[in-house]
Amino acid sequence: MRTLVVGSQALLIELDSADEVAALHAELLRRRDAGALGPVRDLVPAARTVLLDGVRDPAALGARIARWEVPPLTSGEGPLVTVPVRYDGPDLAEVARLWGVGPGEVPGIVGATLFRVAFCGFAPGFGYLTGLPERLHVPRRDTPRTAVPAGSLALAGEYAGVYPRSSPGGWQLIGSTDAVLWDPAREPAALFAPGVRVRFTEAGRD
């Protein structure tokens, strides 16, 4: 763990792996909910870091956090969301080829994976989901699409994600869902908030 002061009001904590980020993020949420963290306006996990923005004394907070014993995350931790998916994505065959399986096997592999929202970014409500083992990581498309439909389930690198709205994108599209990923009038606005666990089921096969 490395702590880096960011300006006068923020602290960036750098870790070695996505698992360590998830564990520290969960610990930060626990302590914040227990009133034991002090004022923090934004708690922003990312690929290998957690940013604490809007804090009083970043250097002192960093020194405190560096002394924490952070327990590893257990697979049962965090709210669980189930998302029904139709496996009708235009890149389904390509992903199956990269995985060395038939397209019909993709739903089972994805369905057996417990994903976790590592962090959000790119667009409101766009979660970066970890959980796929390294052998199932696939590259981005050589040519990004100018418009990926809302609800597309997509893969790129170590991440899976669902586009909350139509936008350009270079991820491999394997399916689609009618689930509403982002609705600012809803509480919570984002279906995929950091720390949420996600299972994808095959629509119509419940």
Binding site: L4, V6, G7, A46, L51, G54, P124, F126, A190, A193
Partner: protein
Amino acid sequence: MTELLVVRPGALTTVQDRGRPGHAHLGVPRSGALDTAAYALANRLLGNPPDAAVLETTLDGVSLRAAALTVVVVTGAPCPVRISGRPVAWGAPVGLPAGAELEVGRAESGLRSYVAVRGGIAVAPVLGSRSTDLLSGLGPPVLSAGMTLPVGPAGPDPVPGADAYGLPAAPPELLLPLRPGPRADWFTGASLAGLWRSVFRVSPSSNRIGLRTEGGPALVRARAGELPSEGMVLGAVQVPPDGLPVVFLADHPVTGGYPVVGVVGPGPALDAAAQARPGTPVRFVRAR
């Protein structure tokens, strides 16, 4: 309560308030008025709550017509203000009669004027804010001709009397106090040392997302490779591969993958950045 009709939207006029901080973890930018002091003053001059929504113009003002008598004020970038064709005060509350047109003219210096109305612009809030976020598209649309904007009920506070203060003069150069880190070590010592002696210019491609610089020496990377995306703060000075610093303003993305060489603290320096026209010289000085 009344409403405002947009007669001339101007180059880029948006509804702004204090923004929606606290949602960065969901991928939601903070947004909000860029010149925070001018925004706060506009509401104070009208007796509005400090978080009332106002209009933020860009360089060439805006024209509006009120459906019923109301009180308005223009702060931020100084500019000619007219009601029904007659000059009225800039920076002081003025009555806007029903049907009369308020013309907020081109900025004489600076970039962004703030047009507040008593009661505030009352479009529906999104995640607690009425701000238009140009990066993610949250909040009301950019003003267009013919659009109407609801105005909220006037609060209990009276419109204060005269509030004397100097007309803000456009500074000849933009001085940005920079606190190095968190990724200053991604750049060579020589180019970091040079940063304090360099003069950049505000690039015309600057916007509400960031103040881009040009014309200065590029910062040189001390290491190869990519930085995994990490959380970004307001005022972060990100350095893309071309080596020219970008100062993140209110609509900045919540995460970014280019190293941040330092941070300009919120307050007067970022307010000045919001008013710096393209071509203005920019220097970074060590934050105390």
